[in-house]
């Protein structure tokens, strides 16, 4: 079984790679001399680096404020809000950011209201950074907060007894606890932003601000230049692969040493200046993440509701999207489970883990470009598009499932393997009696995540979608491109509502009751 999954992965990724290599003019000197390529590469790197620095730089004081203030009204709500960008489709966030920061947006309205004319700034690197920080700052803040919360209680007691001040606490306790987490988080954000497609395509505002991913799309869909797309895709895969390897080295799991169980009071939280600073930071972070969410809801409800909800195209897109994301989710979950449950038997675990994380290095656009080229060469009709979209999203979702489910599966194996073996529980009975009850919660969570991500994904569908096979994200992209903001508003709200609703539904249905 797991062999089949590995073969499928190798076939998809390898086939795509082979097609790319077959198409790309393998002329290294030519590639290096290509000024457009150099420009795209440089810009992709710069925007990813800036995004990583800004996201982590903003996340650090926010995480610290959250760690210092363990009790204030709305803390739980703020942390929930910080989880939203993870499942918010990129195209919806782009719409929200246009609504907030665009020329006819809220910010410009506010500025005009107080007589402060504001120039247009959104399209270009500014917009890209605004969006990338929206996506990654909350995630980084939550990661860093977890790092701070893992400081043993004894350290806080020691700091209290020694009378450390806020700056000393930062230097001697917080910074050492965060240094490693900051490096790996920044690396991850860099990788995610390096592979950013939707944001750079829509907010980049043209070829001058194109990332590699957006350039692949433009090469295939606008210029119909498969060799160029192939070169770009190979570059993307090579760099992402290198980054993934580098990141694996950065991600050394911190030694877990449980100290005093209960959270300990900190010595540096009494001062008024600190209180005001933290409150200001948390309000700012809350607004930065919360306002786009609010913008989606408000403009969605006041948009062209009747027009969009009455259109057959909308509902066709919903049906297609649900079908595609269901197939993708089933593929990802089934594939991941085969890998995970077999990892202790057939193959060395390191190899399985590596293969499981391979899709992280593949962007949907690069993978899609390979399959696109493959189809062209085989002369197959592009009508296969929707199946490929599901396949690509499934492959892309697989590592998420592995990440969420594998630790729980390893724990279950460590605890129950011997008992199960001694009682002779194996095969289907083992799955039914032991693995499924213990793993259904992480499986539900991972499945819900993959379904939401694939339902909101624009990458693969942008390559293979046609006017007749558009999903909601593609519909929004077309509406934005045509400046039909009132229609995009409603479609965006519908997409978010369905993605979130689907997420909750799948998590509950598969994951089972809360304390099952």
């Amino acid at each position: 079984m797991s062999l089949a999954v590995i073969l499928l992965l190798l076939f998809v990724i390898g086939g795509s790679l082979a097609a790319l290599f077959g198409t790309a003019p393998l002329d290294l000197a030519g590639i290096l001399a290509d000024r457009y390529l150099a420009h795209v590469l440089l810009f992709t790197t710069i925007q990813a680096a800036l995004s990583a620095v800004l996201s982590v730089g903003f996340a650090l004081p926010v995480a610290r404020a959250l760690a210092r203030r363990t009790r204030f009204p709305g803390r739980t709500l703020l942390l929930r809000l910080f989880g939203l960008p993870m499942v918010m489709p990129a195209i919806v966030a782009v719409f929200a950011i246009v609504t907030l920061y665009g020329e006819s947006g809220w910010l410009h309205g506010l500025a005009a209201g107080i007589g402060l004319p504001l120039g247009s700034f959104l399209y270009g690197i500014e917009g890209i950074l605004i969006a990338h920080v929206f996506f990654n700052m909350p995630f980084a803040a939550r990661t860093l907060l977890a790092g701070l919360e893992s400081v043993p209680g004894e350290s806080w007691r020691l700091a209290s007894q020694l009378g450390m001040r806020s700056s000393q606490v930062f230097r001697l306790i917080e910074w050492p606890a965060l240094r490693a987490a900051m490096a790996s988080t920044a690396g991850l954000v860099f990788m995610l932003c390096f592979a950013s497609f939707t944001v750079t395509l829509t907010l980049g505002g043209g070829p001058a601000w194109a990332s590699l991913e957006a350039a692949i799309y433009q090469a295939l869909r606008y210029d119909f230049d498969p060799p160029r797309a192939a070169v770009l895709a190979l570059l993307q895969l090579a760099i992402s692969g290198g980054l993934l390897l580098a990141l694996h080295r950065l991600m050394v799991p911190a030694p877990v040493s449980p100290g005093i169980g209960r959270p300990q009071p900190r010595p540096d939280v009494a001062g008024w200046s600190g209180k005001i600073l933290d409150a200001g930071l948390l309000v700012l972070a809350g607004l930065y993440v919360g306002l786009p969410v609010l913008a989606v809801v408000i403009s969605g409800l006041s948009g062209a509701l009747a027009l969009v909800l009455g259109a057959a195209a909308t509902w066709r897109a919903v049906v297609i999207g649900v079908a595609v994301s269901m197939v993708a989710t089933l593929l990802a979950v089934a594939g991941a489970l085969c890998l995970i449950l077999a990892r202790r038997r057939l193959l060395p675990p390191g190899l399985v883990a590596f293969i499981g994380s391979l899709p992280l290095a593949c962007s949907p656009l690069a993978l899609g470009a390979g399959l696109f080229v493959l189809l062209l060469r085989l002369g197959a009709p592009l009508d296969l598009g929707l199946g490929l979209v599901a396949l690509i999203n499934g492959v892309m979702g697989l590592p998420y499932v592995v990440r969420v489910v594998a630790p729980a599966a390893a724990e279950a194996a460590a605890r129950h393997d011997r008992l199960a073996a001694s009682l002779g529980i194996a095969g289907w009975s083992r799955w039914r009696l032991i693995d499924w009850p213990l793993l259904r919660r992480p499986i539900g969570l991972a499945g819900a995540l993959v379904a939401a991500l694939s339902f909101g994904d624009l990458g693969a569908i942008a390559l293979f979608g046609t006017p007749n096979t558009a999903t909601l994200p593609l519909l929004i992209y077309q509406q934005l491109a045509a400046y039909r903001l009132d229609a995009a508003a409603v479609t965006a709200l519908l997409l978010v509502a369905l993605a979130l609703g689907g997420f909750v539904l799948i998590e509950r249905l598969v994951g089972g009751p809360e304390h099952g």
Binding site: G153, E154, S155, R157, Q161, G163, S167, Q168, S257, Q264
Partner: protein
């Protein structure tokens, strides 16, 4: 007689369903062992004295002054925990130096005091070692050296030697006792091992369910007939056979 080193007067504290109440008077220079089952409130009592927890009611006096409302740093107390007494990224000397200045601005005289303290606990020349390069016992010696440079008269030990073997534990207790005598410290130590109490303490408190149920000189408290709750804890059924 002079005022006591430590006095707990009707100190109450609530943890989940257990309401604790402590009344205690400890004279200067005593070495008091606190024994009892886990969850009885031994560590909580030490946390209340150090100021890590605030009592529901009652007063805590140290050297005659009321410290109930003081933050931990302003109480004349040093605590040693079971683990995490040292910051893993700071050297032994720096970990000790924190006791002189929590910002680690140390002049030559301060550094000399740090070295002297390390010498005093048998770790001469260990200044540049990181905690990861030290054994469990050596790490606790470094923490002990920090309590020497802090010079707070009341030392609270919350099972810092629990992870050590019996011989090493006795050795550490002897070291603590010797330091206590040299520098005039008053000691309270929590232990799960009655033989530790017998070996090192001049006085024993038996704590159960958030109360001090037995309190007396070591010489008499372990002498049969034992008090009923202590006998039950030690697993001695009939008084007089232990």
């Amino acid at each position: 007689m002079a005022e006591p080193m430590l006095e707990l007067a009707e100190v109450t504290f609530r943890y989940e369903d257990l309401v604790m109440r402590f009344d205690l008077r400890v004279e200067r220079g005593e070495c008091v062992a606190v024994i009892g089952p886990s969850g009885a409130g031994k560590s909580t009592m030490l946390a209340l004295i150090a100021g890590f927890e605030a009592p529901l009611s009652g007063r805590i006096h140290i050297e005659g002054s009321d410290v109930t409302a003081l933050p931990p740093a302003r109480r004349p107390v040093t605590s040693l925990f079971q683990e995490h007494n040292l910051f893993p990224h700071l050297t032994a000397a720096e970990n000790v130096g924190l006791g002189i200045d929590p910002g680690l601005r140390l002049d030559a005289a301060a550094r000399a005091r740090v070295s002297a303290a390390l010498d005093h606990v048998g770790l001469a020349g260990f200044e540049a070692r990181l905690p990861g390069q030290l054994s469990g016992g050596e790490r606790q010696r470094v923490a002990l050296a920090r309590s020497l440079v802090r010079k707070r008269p009341l030392l609270l030990l919350d099972e810092p030697f629990a992870a050590l073997g019996p011989a090493q534990r006795r050795e550490m207790l002897d070291l603590v006792n010797a330091l206590g005598r040299d520098l005039g410290f008053t000691l309270l130590f929590v232990s799960h091992q009655p033989e530790d109490a017998r070996h090192a303490a001049s006085r024993v408190l038996f704590v159960e369910n958030g109360r001090i149920l037995c309190d007396g000189p070591t010489a008499t408290i372990f002498t049969p007939p034992l008090a009923a709750p202590l006998a039950a804890y030690l697993g001695i059924d009939e008084p007089g056979t232990g």
